[in-house]
Symmetry: C2
Subunit: 675 residues, 2 copies
Amino acid sequence: MSSPDLTPHPAWLPDAAFAALLTRTVAVLGEGPCLDTVRAELAGAPSESVADAQLVVARADAAAIAGLNDLPDAPIDGHVTVRTADRVLIIGRTDADALRGFYALVRDEATARLTGEPLPHGTRISVAAEPLRMLDHWDNIDVHPWMGQVERGYAGGSIFYDAGNIRSDLGRVRAYARLIANCGINAVAINNVNVHAREARLLTDDLHEVVRIAEMFRAYGIRTFLSVSFGSPMMLGGLSTNDPLEGTVADWWSATTADVYAAISDFGGFLVKADSEGQPGPFAYGRTHADGANMIAQALRPHGGTVLWRAFVYNHSQDWQDRSTDRARAAHDHFAPLDGSFAENVILQIKHGPLDFQVREPLSPVLAAMPNTRLALELQVTQEYTGHQKHVCYLAPAWSEYLRFRMDGERSVADIVAGSDGARGGITAVSNIGADMFWTGHPLAQANLYAFGRLSWDPMAEPIALLDEWIALTFAAASEAQLPRIRSALHAMMDESWLRYEAYTAPLGVGFMVSAQNHYGPGIDDYEYSKWGTYHFADRDGVGVDRSVATGTGYAGQYPSPWREIYESAQTCPDELLLFFHHVPYEHALHSGKTVIQHIYDSRQEAVQQLDAVDEAWDSLADLIGTTALTSKYDERMRELLAEQRRNAVEWRDQVRTYFFRKSGVPDPAGHVIY
Amino acid sequence: MSSPDLTPHPAWLPDAAFAALLTRTVAVLGEGPCLDTVRAELAGAPSESVADAQLVVARADAAAIAGLNDLPDAPIDGHVTVRTADRVLIIGRTDADALRGFYALVRDEATARLTGEPLPHGTRISVAAEPLRMLDHWDNIDVHPWMGQVERGYAGGSIFYDAGNIRSDLGRVRAYARLIANCGINAVAINNVNVHAREARLLTDDLHEVVRIAEMFRAYGIRTFLSVSFGSPMMLGGLSTNDPLEGTVADWWSATTADVYAAISDFGGFLVKADSEGQPGPFAYGRTHADGANMIAQALRPHGGTVLWRAFVYNHSQDWQDRSTDRARAAHDHFAPLDGSFAENVILQIKHGPLDFQVREPLSPVLAAMPNTRLALELQVTQEYTGHQKHVCYLAPAWSEYLRFRMDGERSVADIVAGSDGARGGITAVSNIGADMFWTGHPLAQANLYAFGRLSWDPMAEPIALLDEWIALTFAAASEAQLPRIRSALHAMMDESWLRYEAYTAPLGVGFMVSAQNHYGPGIDDYEYSKWGTYHFADRDGVGVDRSVATGTGYAGQYPSPWREIYESAQTCPDELLLFFHHVPYEHALHSGKTVIQHIYDSRQEAVQQLDAVDEAWDSLADLIGTTALTSKYDERMRELLAEQRRNAVEWRDQVRTYFFRKSGVPDPAGHVIY
């Protein structure tokens, strides 16, 4: 038996992306693990004196000592690039800044090759817009009986853990750190927010293993976080309570946290999911979430650590018969009253929508409701509700929409979470990677991880331009003739893929309608009579959830103007959110001019039809298969998944259309087959 | 920590049931393991000479030698009871017959105490109506990640297996053998029909462990069967094919089977689920099920063994969009053409209905279609679709209906499967027991196991009378004053419980509508767009599956007259099967006079209301709790489950009613709250 090739795909950092740089003479100045990383990256290039090197990467202090003057001050969390005809200087205030500057250079040069637009000479300063640029891993050490090892993971097992332990070989972790450092990430939480007993021990018994992982990340300027259980004092410490106002509990956290920092001096802090979907929390003791978060924050504060506290708190034992309760209200109801009461090293982590990472939701009103609290926006790179990395679904256009959205008509979400001096937040997301050889299951899902990182650095970046960057890097081995064809094909497949996915799944913002078993494929009524609080209320006359103030759950009133007024009325509510905010008859006319029922019939049909063009785009690259840029393994995976996407999309189309035909009795004048 | 009482509940064989017998003088005559069992049962009674003993249990040959003449010939698979004023004789042709006669005596005496009807003097001959009286265990050696150890088991783990191996202590197996011997069972298959790799090895590597289990059963007159995989030659034998017409395959089965009989001379045979829900089978080689079954039968034949071949074969990857396919047709389509082509030691095992153990289905037409094949009726004692042994659901009334049903207007199902000389079959059922201290989860579910055994011996027995027997035995420790109250309460709870369960779940024979996750609780649309072929086709106008010949799938035509005509028309089809056979408007009038929609609303309401009387019946025994007859543990379990049954029944009522209200738009004139 020949041994299979287990080398992971290089994702957006193939050797070819570095090849041109390695032909230059280089000098790397300064100390620090990230500059050692730069040195390793440039090991193949000839060294040269600072004065003569064609490429200089330096920490600011070392640059000054080496006589590189007349440079602007290196910014906090950013880098300076000085490009002249025969030389590029990259200067960072810290070694991590310098490394990120170096990777930016790799990206920029690859992209210039793709677009043909030369890089401008002169001095450019790039500063991260979001201080926190984080990936959360929902990885478990043990394999869960039906969830697998990575909760909502669609790319194989964990790169951190194997067979109930931390991996002895952390090579994939190092490769991962390199990939995400390249796109701007500076923080990673390495275990599931649902902290089970085995994983809880990462905080204590297995801390020495976390040290090994943190070392990998440190060389790429990334701080390590742990998800911790609010129940740790009882679970791990043998205490009789987890009450945040008990001195023994606070003492336990302080002592435990001090041990963590003694082992990992640049440890990031803790991510906590409390009082949520069965996790323990402060409610059990009659305490607020501020009480809970602040107590843990106090333990972290002497060490410069941060608590990320999730706002995903709702009653998951709702009574579907009680139409007045509304899960969408929960985060605002729970957290808005606590604004201003969180400690300075607490960041409240808020999912982008009020429900749960649906393909279409309005922005969470909590984002506008807590001006005196540090906030982080939580996104989901892993495609829990967007096709399990079996469907092409490029999510950057969605994220871009969220980040640009002006919650109060003025400040963008990106600005709100970035915060201001002393109270800064950022963006965090659930990672989509695993031990899969393509990292992400679907090879094109790599682009989501890449774009997430880039948007966390520059939220106003254009999703289509980010896709160009990703293509330029990923296919750097392509020839001048091949590259434009790859670019064209992938844009045809990916640019509109999020809207296409939306169009064949749940209509008009109503959400869910997904298989309750695993959140993949249609299950129109799967959540309709459930305790999860996620309904569409379709009956023979109409569909949608009335969340107006006047006649519904009042959720629309959680928004500031102008959104409260816009969402309140079915006449002004945007089509794509209509059924999220209103229960309307099937004959209700959309702004598009179509009725709701006709929209449901047509858009599902059109979306599936568009998959023809997607397949054709991939087919157009057939003659490139087997070249360095595009391996036959890549092609095999792509074809397998494109077929699965089509099968599943047809199933969505047919189930949704049949469901609404059976309910409404309205025939489809377009004559589509409805079963 | 005090050690918990782990003694299993005695079920229907408490010591009190034997107490009166042990006061008599006894003589036990003859050899054999089952007579040793009788001797052990009577060890507490004073021995006496045959001439003077008040109770004599004897094998016929020993009785003759001992001079007990003037007795009728002991029948095959039965026993003779001779009762006079001062003496009872039990005579069996074999030691097992004698043991079953002895247990019948225990039962009869207990029942007489309950009913107050004295046992008649004279000679009675009791003969089993069904030759095969079998229990199938869907037990796995390993614990399945989400199914647990016992597939569709609701009573804890397996009594046979623990932690991946055969239990070293088989005490529970012995106790179980005693219980089921008491009610007439003579065969047990000890592992799941879905044979996984670990369990396949029971046939070979672990045969010595099967020997231990067979020994337990032998002492109670029960033959041991194994479920085997049709894929065994490849999986266990290293062969390159499982083709039944390949000589190497037949040779492997012959050699392997010979090894089994060398170790277990009274081994029963094999149970095979082939080409069903992913199990391997003859279809892969273009062979028929007769080819497959006959090849294995040939291996068993020299040893007197039997193949039980399941007819549960259907396409479980159906296209819901194709309304012409019908899973209900599958068994008849596959097997009816094979009538007469099975070897003489093959028994075709047929589920009672054409789908899958639903609370209401018509009888399988295969039962009428194979006069030249030995048949067994398969029932399900484990409550997969009837409340998971959390709901009170006494199933004997259902089984009795099936057994008495005249498939062709003449012969009953009981007679058909009993067969005639040389081609006899019987009844088999999936067991409902596990390592639970009450054996069956719900203590009252013990009655289902008991009644199944008794019906397999006497299919015409009255379910209500069998319940009396079970009560009389189970509560033998109750005083004369207590016993009538227990009898009255349990009849109030159990007599109508099957119909009540039907009335709050899926209506009018339409089936399923059950949670696809685990088959517990409502999931009205869970199977509606699935590959499993189980639909109700509810739309805004009506509901039900058109299985008529004239306009539907033609399934009704698989029945002989008069049923094909009766089922063909919605006018003559019995109400309880209407939606199984017809798609009708919600306003369709039932024979009851109600419309379909009103029936759906009303019957669910009434069924839940009836639970008040069930609770009251149990409450009426409150003062008996803590007595020998009724322990507090029994009461705790009962109360916990009665509460769960109510919660779940309310959920069923509300989801079914709301679902149909939303679809039909018909308000409930009775004014029930519909959400």
